[in-house]
Amino acid sequence: MTCILGISAFYHDSAASIIVDGKIIAAAQEERFTRKKHDSNYPYNAVEFVLKYSNFKLSEVDHIVFYEKPFLKFERLLETYVAFAPKGFLQFSKAMPLWLKEKLFQKKMLMDCLKENDENFKDEKKIFFSEHHMSHAASAFFPSPFDEAIILTADGVGEWATSTVAIGKDNNVEIKKEIHFPHSLGLLYSAFTYYTGFKVNSGEYKLMGLAPYGDPKYKNLIKDNLIDIKDDGSFRLDQDFFNYSTGLTMTNEKFNNLFGKMPRNSKNEKITQFHMDVASSIQNVTEEVMLKMATSLRKEYNLKNLCLAGGVALNCVANGKILEKKIFDKIWIQPAAGDAGGSLGAALALWYKEMKKERKIFKTDQMQGSYLGPEYSQNEIEIKLKEAGAIFKVMKEEELIDKTAEDLSKGKAIGWFQGRMEFGPRALGARSILGDPRSETMQKDLNLKVKYRESFRPFAPSVLNDQVSEWFDIKEESPYMLLVSNVNKKKQIKMDDDQKKLFGIDKLNVKRSEIPAATHVDYSARIQTVHKETNPRYFKLLEKFKEKTGCPVVINTSFNVRGEPIVNTPDDAFNCFMGTELDKLIIGNCYLDKKNQNQKLKKDYTSKFELD
């Protein structure tokens, strides 16, 4: 048996993954254990978990792969500073101490950290380094159900590459083309995230959610000044407008002058139509780049499958557009498309590409629904809940499903904690908050009472896989909530002229379909198809909900409050339950009613976590 541990760390979203003889056994992100969102420290807890889950000691692991190459990154930094000198001195003076003190000696640093997990680990020769975008590409191709595919990866920046095109065939991935720093689609999107007042590297999804409210008024302004897009989708950014290569902000004065406003300060400035139009414009440009790339790659390589990874692959609206245009027969997107997934890709790249092990192709992908995290037995759950002072009832599965579906149909907000935790940023029915999508008030109630945010984004729908085309304009599976499609015309409710004039959240509150809580203002929805094979209990719940209401859809949002990492343990879940106005909590076979709980255990969660 060959055991490979993959690690991503020291930038953002640290994670650990373990594969045994090429099979993905476990993977988890460090933030879930430390409760620090996007935790970038060495993933001590995640490593502990994956080792324990796979029954290995660190000293028994055959190889350890880090998801990127620090020397190559250092080379990029030095060359960038030389190219921009003397302009980038400020950033240089901040970066160099960090590098000369720690990051340049990452192998030693990694060794020291690994010794914390197991003091018997001594073999430095077991440590390997994979290239950042090779890790992404490997994470997108090797678990996919394809024997051959084009792999497109795009994110902020790795070492040099910001976007790559690779060809995956059997057990090999070969990078064919790269776009290098500072020209980056991810950083362009992040620059606008910053400009519109959201947190870089975590608020990008908000910018995407804001886009449907606006008109792409600034699209030409962006294309004429900021980005030169070629017919094949390759691009260059005009660095005169950006500050990320040399400064400590994303954009500069010239950028502000171009749009005629300073970046929004989220503390005292509200989102206006201007920000919505800017969001719509940059979303449009991103889609254009992705579509042009996809179209030209299909023509150039004549392969019918596409795999996607890298932070930009989390832009599910752009993914949905590629799918809708039918450029490729099939698309598969790595659910942990961000840097956390790099840990898995790095391990898989070593096994298949370097060790040249045979790769078997299966009909379904090898991510097992992305349920790769920790799980708790019924016994453990009961012990933990008792310790926490919870009052609960243990039910048989049938009764539990029936009761939960009944609660959902009555408009209750449910905390749903079942099986192994998801790997990747989306909650997929293992650590989820569920609600009735038919309710006109659900979106508002959940946001204000449970998530503590005034959101302009509706919630994502989970739908029974075999019913998806009945409710949405999509026939394909979307198990990882990474595709956006419109609500089926039959289920839409047209807005009248007065309603069309409404602005922002008021417009979101208009009943626009039979499932208003899951329908965005442009009738789009971020879909998760639920499959019996990967999450049978969640599938049964949706079936029961359909039996009671005729609707095979529930809304599914991550089990956390704003800015908090998704819950990991039964304790986290109970704390979140008692800190919010969730009505019921279902953990394993335990059923908790808020009304029965000791009111003294209530916690103040409203200001515990910072906004993205």
């Binding site: 020397f71 060359e79 970066a95 000369l100 003190k101």
Partner: protein, 49 residues
Amino acid sequence: MSFLKEFWEFLRIRKKYWLFPIIIVLVLFGGLIILSQGSAVAPFIYTIF
């Protein structure tokens, strides 16, 4: 020592010998910078480095 060997190998494979003098200077001056401060914390808005 193994670090220096690995780094030299890296420069050789990448054919980036011109970075070597920059690194020597950096290590000399960097030593001073490191000694003069407690901890090195990245303040940047996007973790580019």
